[in-house]
Assembly symmetry: C2
DNA sequence: TTATTATATAAGCATTTACTTATATAAAAG
DNA sequence: CTTTTATATAAGTAAATGCTTATATAATAA
């Protein structure tokens, strides 16, 4: 878990996913990484059990896995970071995420 | 910080150092790594500000850095792990650490 | 002084990592 | 059907990582 969160980009991905379910295209918008790079990180996070994935139509949503053995520790770590919520709300104001609902 | 703790061996080193000040030779005894490998990890931990070093005669002691920006989060992480204290006490019972006092 | 002990550093190397570009798959739309 | 959109995967690659062995440094002991 610590190794997975030890990567800057993955930690950022987890911050977003922790706030609320995200689909890949949303993450692509807010994180400065190519779509394949994001998919690859998501796979590692999923393989590590840190997130769960769920297909909804053509989108795949990822959400924080509360059942993970270290879920509460992860939560503690993620909420110790500078909030990412503002960026998410900014995104919502721009209507850039609604497309995936 | 998370990247530094994301390595199994470094995390273990931090567990010991968190319990109490340790010199390199003590860590060499309890962790299955060569002396140079341990020194190299300690340097990374020091460069990252996670530990402080202090020379005492021929030994160099490392201690947890309470002043680090993420000290309390680190503390939370380290104390969330299975206790290492038993191994330390075992070591003390064997008298293998006293030599460094 | 020389020898010993504790630790650090350097160089080399195999492995892992995190990306890139190109392509495949899967679902929805036309 | 074909096209478009969303996502995943594959292959390649440069850089980072974590060790190894050998050697340097620093303090103490003889």
């Amino acid at each position: 878990m610590l190794k997975l969160l030890g990567d800057q980009n993955r930690l950022r991905i987890m911050q977003f996913i922790y706030e609320r379910e995200c689909c890949v295209c949303e993450l692509v918008e807010v994180i400065d990484l190519s779509q394949p790079a994001i998919s690859q990180h998501l796979r590692k996070l999923r393989d590590g059990g840190l997130v769960r994935e769920q297909r909804k139509g053509s989108w795949v949503f990822y959400r924080f896995n509360d059942d993970h053995q270290t879920a509460s520790l992860m939560e503690h770590i993620i909420t110790s970071l500078p909030r990412i919520k503002d960026e998410l709300e900014q995104l919502e104001r721009e209507g850039r995420n609604v497309i995936c609902d």
